[in-house]
């Protein structure tokens, strides 16, 4: 439209808030991708379904089984983590050494089955979840922040901090990092790489579920919300640089900001094209990602 008015400071702030909100969700999903990638070198195409399950199971535990919201949320994340562990046990572990391609196809199959399961079990319609804390949004220098957005930021921050502690302060985390650097070497050092893969699937599922859980009060959820969020998370992980958790978070935030600022200053029709074009440019100019210092593959 040719009627674009001046963008004021508070509006810019509002775009940034929206970008940070969506970016946090992308970050949680991207973390899932990057953790599984680190241990298997495979892209988990079922990551979006973990996100969908996070909201869906919470709705089910809340409205179906009558649990209180906090409990339903907790049990949902635990359940989806269990689904991730189970998926690894049944479908990944037997072919763990078959190379990333085999694993990718298995996760594509998993994503289809999970999605279909959700439709059969929970129906085809969208399902709502109440906000964690009711009340009007908070005024922040003329921009509005919804209370649920604070929850999104808080829980994303908690997840990132917990993950950082896990990676830097625990034996398991060090084992996972060793696997990330070089799986063969890690195995030779006596690290149980199988266990690392299992745990990474559990973590990826839990983080995806957390993302789906915190965003559902704003968006509702449905059986088919997974794939598009999967693509966003994958894009965020690639944008940041695969295999590095902090880079994934940075990639997610960048993608979220890129989208909301595209809407704000350019066009909502082309916001995805703009984001993807930036992504392509990054890939072509800096194939290792924006925020990763990992060296390029050597000859």
């Amino acid at each position: 439209m040719g009627v674009d008015a001046e963008v004021t400071g508070s509006e810019l702030l509002q775009f940034i808030i929206a970008g940070l909100k969506n970016g946090s969700i992308y970050a949680l999903v991207a973390l899932g991708f990057t953790i599984v990638y680190a241990s298997t070198k495979a892209i988990n195409f079922a990551q979006g379904e973990f996100y969908m399950f996070g909201g869906m199971f919470a709705v089910f535990f809340l409205s179906g089984l009558g649990m209180p919201l906090a409990l339903a949320a907790l049990v949902s994340v635990i359940t989806v983590t269990a689904v991730g562990l189970g998926f690894d046990r049944v479908a990944i572990r037997p072919r763990r050494d078959a190379g990333p391609l085999t694993l990718i196809i298995i996760t594509i199959g998993g994503s289809m089955v999970f999605q279909s399961f959700a439709r059969h079990a929970f129906g085809p319609d969208e399902r709502p979840l109440p906000v964690f804390t009711a009340g009007p949004s908070i005024d922040f220098f003329g921009a509005a922040i919804e209370r649920q957005t604070l929850w999104i930021w808080a829980l994303t921050a908690v997840a990132v901090v917990a993950l950082t502690i896990l990676y830097t302060r625990t034996k398991l985390g060090r084992a996972m990092r060793a696997c990330m650097e070089n799986r063969e070497a890690a195995r030779l050092m006596g690290i149980d790489t199988n266990r690392v893969v299992t745990i990474s699937f559990g973590l990826a599922a839990g983080l995806g579920a957390l993302g789906g859980l915190v965003v559902t009060p704003l968006t509702q959820t449905a059986f088919n919300v997974g794939p598009s969020m999967g693509v966003k998370g994958f894009a965020a992980a690639i944008l940041g640089g695969l295999g590095n958790p902090l880079a994934a978070v940075a990639g997610g935030i960048t993608l979220g900001l890129l989208e909301s600022l595209s809407i704000g200053f350019l066009s909502s029709t082309y916001k995805d094209v703009i984001a993807l074009a930036v992504l392509l440019a990054v890939l072509v100019l800096r194939p290792e990602g924006l925020f990763s210092r990992a060296s390029r593959e050597k000859m």
């Binding site: 439209m1 775009f15 969208e126 509005a144 919804e146 509702q220 909301s260 909502s268 029709t269």
Partner: protein, 385 residues
């Protein structure tokens, strides 16, 4: 090679055997109608109720003696919200099942995809999808039952004009429904003395529209028109509430779903949208024929499936009965051309979406007077003032 030939021959044999066994009652061979419905994929939520209605009403029609003594059979195929599957299903229904007419599809794209085969076979198709393109790209074989945007948009704008609104902001999804709505809206705004001060879009799978709504807020419109059908409607309403936008929001007939009210909660209060009278049959006046049809449909459906029917269920009801009523007027040895002509002659058919009057130039058949403006109040639908 010999093996392959034998296999092929065996398949032929099997197939013929199969066909013979389906004709259990040769004296009252059923009239076969095909239906292409989205039971899986993104439109599964719309197609499910459509299938329910068809199952329910076919049983009822046959219990009441069928069509001039002959039972009907509606063969329902799932298109998975996929155009290729819709085409395969169409080929199956036409060539294998030899149906006399087709209901469907649920979605506009799938409906359009069926057209090639429908044209080749020369049988009538009654679509349950609302895309303007379906009847605007005119095909004499293709009819539709939902209100198209060319009816709903003028109705809505007239209503808004009556409220004295001049500056409107448009927000729509960039799927078929939203894009079509935006196009019709922009073509009609000037006629009702309005101008668009903002136009925003989002993807059907998007989960946040605060950036778009911030821009709209900045444009200071008198009213926001939202044209979308899916779960995002609730997100738009909630984002508006979050941004403390107190500009009235008016939606489309795609919002006539209780999921929206549940999903948006308090943010849905005061939201208005146009739709048929089925949501509140009392609107017809309790002694009218329209009321009776709508009321008994709602009651029967609710009794059988435990929830009130959606407007999409109504589209399936209308499509089925338009074909059935035409069939009732035809001799037993009718041709598909006759059936098509008879459907086109549909006059004053009282359906769920409204009263249908097809003509050689109008295959949508509804009028603005079939619509009312609803408002969400206390988590319920009421007639908007």
């Amino acid at each position: 090679m010999a093996l392959a030939l034998m296999l092929t021959l065996a398949m032929v044999g099997c197939q013929q055997g199969g066909e013979e066994t389906t004709d259990l009652k040769p004296t009252e061979e059923p009239i076969k109608i095909g239906a292409v419905v989205s039971l899986t994929g993104p439109y599964a939520g719309l197609g499910g109720p459509e299938k329910n209605v068809i199952d329910m009403e076919v049983a009822k029609i046959n219990a009441e003696g069928g069509i001039n003594g002959r039972p009907i059979e509606v063969l329902i195929e799932d298109d998975g919200t996929d155009e290729k599957k819709a085409q395969a299903a169409t080929a199956k229904l036409i060539d294998k099942e030899k149906v006399v007419a087709l209901i469907g599809a649920t979605g506009t794209g799938q409906t359009m995809a069926m057209r090639g085969d429908v044209d080749k076979a020369g049988i009538p198709q009654v679509s349950m999808a609302g895309g303007t393109v379906i009847t605007q790209q005119f095909d004499k074989l293709v009819f539709q039952t939902p209100w198209s945007n060319t009816i709903v948009v003028p109705y809505t704008l007239k209503y808004l004009q009556g409220k004295g609104y001049k500056k409107v902001a448009l927000i729509a999804d960039d799927g078929g429904f939203g894009k079509d709505g935006i196009a019709v809206l922009k073509a009609n705004l000037a006629k009702y003395g309005m101008t668009a001060v903002a136009e925003e879009s989002f993807k059907p799978e998007d989960t946040d529209m605060t950036a778009q709504m911030t821009k709209i807020k900045n444009a200071k419109p008198d009213v926001i028109i939202m044209w979308t059908a899916g779960a995002n409607s609730a997100v738009v309403l909630k984002n508006a509430e979050q941004l403390k936008i107190d500009i009235p929001i008016v939606g489309s007939h795609g919002n006539a779903r209780m999921e929206l009210v549940k999903g948006a909660g308090a943010a849905a209060e005061g939201f208005r949208f146009p739709a048929g009278k089925i949501l509140l049959p009392d609107e017809y006046g309790t002694d009218s024929e329209e009321y009776k049809v709508a009321k008994s449909f709602v009651d029967e459906y609710t009794k059988k499936y435990g929830e009130a029917p959606s407007t999409f269920a109504g589209h399936a009801y209308d499509a089925l009965y338009i074909i059935v009523d035409a069939l009732k007027k035809l001799p037993a040895d009718f041709t598909s051309a006759q059936l098509r002509d008879e459907i086109e002659k549909t006059k004053d058919f009282i359906g769920i979406g409204g009263t249908f009057n097809y003509s050689p130039t109008d295959h949508n058949g509804l009028k603005e007077s079939d619509l009312v403006m609803y408002e969400v109040k206390g988590g319920k639908w009421v007639i908007a003032k």
